[in-house]
């Protein structure tokens, strides 16, 4: 018989850590609420018949954000056999609030009192026996991070299922409330399981719309229930929901007082750090310094050194020479040498060359996420983002997107307001992701002789576009309304574990390597083929190849942006498959391998096709236009409709085109001293239009009567 165990608990209480310990998998664990946004399944180590589901964290069974809906739906509709409720023991009062609701579901519950190591270190004492009695379910002490008690919790859970013992809630509400609940229970149809009746009654009492609609009660019964609720509200002089919440917390306070001895402590270290890093004057300078340092180390200084080495020495020299030598010695055909050396090594090598740089960046991002600083930044940024129509919570998706847009888009689920969430999804890929870094590095090296301002300028461009888009989109009819109030739990600071940071870094880096070995590998081979052969399948000069003829047809679209060559066109289009492909394609087209040992040469060949201004326009377009297919897929999933996916892609691509157009047309006049043309006028007109979009009054829902006057 298969047994389904669900892991439920507050955000950041260690569910995923426990999940990893139980199943032996290595799901990402982070130090901010909302790391897990989708449920994950695994099998208990050594017990194939036990399925464990890791659920997104929830504060209560009244969902507020999307990932909380995932959890509630699972608990209600998927009928897990047993719930392991992970309770952060260092924060027991707030965590038990959820427990009081879980025990009402009619499913056996086991409480895993997690983070006991921290409690013991603080010198606090929790009497688990008393606690178990008060809650009406078994309580097991665990420290998931060290693996203690984890096995026991799982065994007890399995045992409980075998015994078929249902947890009965111990908590009773005030007499008036209980009476009301009794009457409501009586109204429920027989389709509701007896064990779940109480839970449904409480939810109806709280006027939970979603539960109300799933039950599909008659209008008459609904009216009757509403009458009971209003009567009770009058007696208690509070609204129904608050009555339930307050009673639950009062009950928990009593239990906690009975079962725990807490040492009185003043300000914690976490608070002291917060005093400094969220200080009203220091917060922004500290944040700017941290980000500058991260990007300086991973992109400009250390990152640049390792990347140069891998590109020029490893792939440009050793690997290419070795492969050429080996293939020639076995007498391979010229076209085969071409395919392997120019196509595959050239393309894949050009991409993999940037791996070290990216790993360093991921390493630092993992530290920032893991220590708890990232949530503080969301708090700090809220004040600024609000001015641009976004909430501080949008910051976390943006920050994650600087690694990869796909998890960035997924992370937007923690934003409770539908409009804020949609805008965040639409703008989050403007932040240059890891895969776009190679494009920046290539252009910066080839055209701007490695100027250090190019990379930061792309980040500023991304942030600028996010903010501009925030204002523009908020003023359209689609998104009018204020951003939702900002409420977010801040985890305690802790020193990140090296293992955690390295795992996280590798998890992110791995997908990059896999992509290089699969999609980009194939794409580079295909591109090499298309650029080496003519339609008659004769090996020809690239300028007469299939690729050139296709590229030449599409190229005029990009001519007003300054990069109307077929090479740049093909590179941009292959970027849709994966952004690394842009560089891979350049590698193949300009032949990274023919310039063994001297990377500067490919650069000079690239440079011949670009001016300073057109290269910058090329960068701008590739940074902002539709993201790769993987990210488009994520947008589709999170938006939930093709309509919104197309709106997103359309918006991103037209913004990219407009921005690149302005850069090229205005830049050519200003920096290259070219003549003022009709296109320059159009560029100025676009700027004027954007300014109008920014300053026009927001669309508000004006009552019809008022508008007529």
């Amino acid at each position: 018989m298969e047994i389904k165990i669900a892991l439920a608990g507050n955000p950041n209480s260690g569910k995923t850590t426990m999940f990893n310990a139980l199943t032996g998998s290595s799901q990402y664990v982070g130090n901010w609420p909302g790391v897990t946004v989708e449920k994950k399944e695994g099998r208990l180590k050594g017990h194939k018949e036990v399925v464990i589901t890791d659920l997104p964290g929830i504060y209560s069974l009244s969902p507020y954000t999307l990932e909380e809906v995932v959890t509630r739906n699972y608990l209600l509709n998927d009928h897990p056999d047993v719930i392991i409720n992970i309770v952060d023991a260092s924060n027991i009062e707030r965590n038990l609030y959820l427990t009081t609701q879980l025990v009402e579901l009619g499913i056996p519950v086991i409480v895993a009192l997690n983070m006991m190591d921290i409690v013991n270190k603080n010198g606090d004492i929790i009497n688990t026996e008393k606690l178990a009695k008060a809650l009406g379910c078994q309580v097991i002490e665990t420290a998931a991070i060290k693996g203690t008690g984890v096995k026991e919790a799982a065994n007890k859970a399995v045992e409980l299922v075998r015994l078929k013992r249902i947890t009965t809630p111990q908590h009773v509400f005030a007499t008036d409330v209980e009476e009301a609940l009794d009457i409501i229970q009586g109204q429920l149809s027989k389709t509701v399981k007896a064990s779940q009746k109480r839970w449904y009654a409480i939810k109806l009492f709280e006027r939970d719309d979603k539960v109300m609609s799933t039950l599909g009660l008659d209008a008459e019964i609904q009216k009757k229930i509403e009458k009971i609720i209003t009567d009770c509200e009058k007696i208690m002089s509070d609204d129904a929901e608050s009555i339930i919440t307050n009673e639950r917390y009062e009950y928990i306070s009593r239990i906690v007082k009975k079962c725990t001895i807490k040492k009185v402590t003043g300000m914690t270290t976490s608070d002291k750090i917060d005093r400094i890093v969220t200080n009203r004057w220091l917060a922004l300078p500290i944040f700017a310094a941290v980000m500058w340092l991260v990007y300086f180390i991973s992109i400009s200084s250390l990152g640049a050194i390792v990347t140069d080495w891998t590109n020029d020495v490893l792939f440009g020299g050793w690997v290419t020479n070795f492969a050429t030598g080996a293939l020639e010695s076995v007498g391979a055909a010229d076209w085969l040498i071409g395919l392997i050396v120019d196509g595959i090594i050239g393309g894949v090598g050009a991409v993999l060359g940037f791996l070290p740089q990216m790993l360093i960046l991921f390493f630092f991002l993992a530290i920032l996420e893991d220590c708890g600083y990232m949530t503080r930044v969301a708090f700090i940024m809220d004040r600024i983002f609000r001015k641009f129509g976004l909430s501080g919570k949008s910051f976390i998706p943006l920050m994650i997107s600087s690694g990869c847009g796909v998890p960035g888009i997924m992370a937007s689920r923690t934003i409770e307001n539908e409009n804020d969430r949609k805008i965040t999804i639409m703008v989050t890929t403007f932040i240059p992701c890891g895969a776009k870094l190679p494009i920046i590095a290539l252009i910066a090296g080839a055209i701007f002789s490695g100027a250090t301002w190019v990379a930061p300028s792309m980040y500023f461009l991304g942030i600028g576009m996010v903010l501009i888009s925030g204002i523009i989109l908020k003023k359209t009819k689609l998104f009018s309304g204020d951003p939702a109030p900002f409420v977010m739990e801040l985890p305690q600071y802790h020193i990140p574990s090296l293992k955690g940071v390295l795992t996280h870094m590798w998890e992110r880096g791995k997908s990059f390597v896999i992509k290089a070995g699969t999609v980009i590998f194939v794409a580079c081979g295909v591109i090499w083929f298309l650029q080496s052969f003519s339609w008659g399948l004769q090996m020809v000069d690239p300028s007469e190849s299939i690729l050139a003829s296709i590229g030449t047809v599409i190229a005029p679209i990009f001519a007003p942006l300054g990069f109307g060559t077929w090479q740049a066109t093909v590179a941009t289009i292959t970027g849709l498959v994966a952004k690394e492909n842009v560089v891979g394609t350049f590698g193949v087209l300009y032949g990274i391998s023919e310039v063994a040992g001297d990377g500067v040469e490919i650069w000079s060949r690239v440079a011949a096709d670009f001016t300073v201004v057109s290269a910058f326009a090329f960068l701008v377009f590739n940074m902002l236009c539709a993201p790769c297919f993987a990210a488009i897929g994520a947008i589709k999933r999170e938006m939930g409709s093709w309509k919104w996916t197309w709106i997103t892609i359309g918006y991103q691509t037209s913004l990219a085109y407009a921005a690149a157009f302005i850069v090229y047309q205005i830049g050519s006049v200003v920096f290259l001293g070219q003549n003022f043309t009709i296109l320059t006028v159009i560029a100025l007109a676009i700027i004027a239009f954007v300014i109008w979009l920014l300053v026009r009054p927001a669309k508000k829902l004006i009552p019809v009567v008022a508008a007529q006057h």
């Binding site: 507020y64 608050s242 307050n246 917390y249 969220t278 949530t375 708090f379 501080g392 985890p491």
Partner: protein
């Protein structure tokens, strides 16, 4: 008085939370209930980090204005 006027580091008791919406319900679920203790840990342009039932929660100015202490 609204929480926004409370001094940093001082422990206050919540008298009520005005308004009636999803966010209010969410706050209540997180432990912002009438009669509960609340301490401002840090304040930045009206946005606040508060200590509620031993956890740190960041709330924006508009929310802090609605919490009466």
């Amino acid at each position: 008085m609204p929480l926004i006027m409370a001094r940093t580091g001082e422990c206050n008791t919540i008298i009520r939370i005005t308004g009636k919406d999803e966010t209010k319900r969410f706050l209540e679920n997180m432990g912002f209930i009438t009669g509960g203790d609340i301490t401002v840990v840090s304040e930045m342009g009206g946005n606040m980090i508060v200590n509620i039932k031993g956890t740190r929660v960041a709330i924006s100015k508009s929310m802090a204005n609605r919490i009466m202490v």
